[in-house]
Amino acid sequence: MDQPVGIVLVSHSAQLAAGLRELLAQIGSDTVPVAAAGGAPGGGIGTSYDLIHAAITEVDHGAGVLVLPDLGSSVLTTRTVLDDHPRPDVVMVDAPFVEGAVAAAVTAAMGADLDAVAHAAKEARDVAKL
């Protein structure tokens, strides 16, 4: 795989998404394209269709895109974006936001394909933290 899978972090908070993106780069996945799509249009807490759509486009380098929503309307807004722009290689996964993103980013950095990266994110739910 020439290009790693891209990752989009969707959150109600721009700072939460940006902070998680910063963490992912530190954990050794600075080769993986990661975009933060946090906050409402124009700022504040909320989610933005346009930010999510732009983030997907930004990290799509040909190997597919994994979208990780934090909760609630992050899921709903992402779903609307994906319904409007259906593609088999752009998928949203149900995973813990931080752990799922870390597992996905490290797996993507290994050169794994979209299925493996999505699986790593979902599997994060079953890994004990302590």
Binding site: L23, V102, A105, V106, M110, A124, V127, L130
Partner: protein
């Protein structure tokens, strides 16, 4: 297994243990105990997982009675291994020794 009991009774950061089984073409095994210079936190765990993925051998990382596959970054973090303690890397397969040496180098350079 005598190799593991040997490493736990004399934990040094350089002691390598090869299996005594020679003369057959069973998969190579290699084992190394590493004393951690720093806590095995997120950053080294990420580097360890990415390094482990480059090898075909089956690899385990053992710490305090727990054993994880080092390609799993979250599993590695969940060990909670702290600076000054000893972890053991074990690999079985064609590139077992290279895998263990590469992972030991990652652990030894953790900050």
């Amino acid at each position: 297994m005598s190799p593991s009991s040997e490493t736990t009774t004399t934990p040094t950061d350089t002691e390598a243990v090869r299996t005594a089984d020679q003369g057959t073409h069973s998969p190579a095994e290699f084992e190394l105990a590493v004393t951690l210079p720093a806590n095995l936190h997120a950053r080294p765990a990420g580097k360890l997982a990415q390094t482990a993925a480059r090898f075909s051998s089956s690899i385990r990382l053992d710490y305090a009675g727990k054993s994880v596959n080092p390609t799993g970054v979250l599993a590695v973090m969940s060990l909670g291994a702290t600076a000054g303690t000893t972890v053991t890397l074990r690999a079985q397969g064609e590139d077992a020794e290279q895998a263990v040496q590469a992972l030991a180098a990652v652990l030894a350079s953790a900050e």
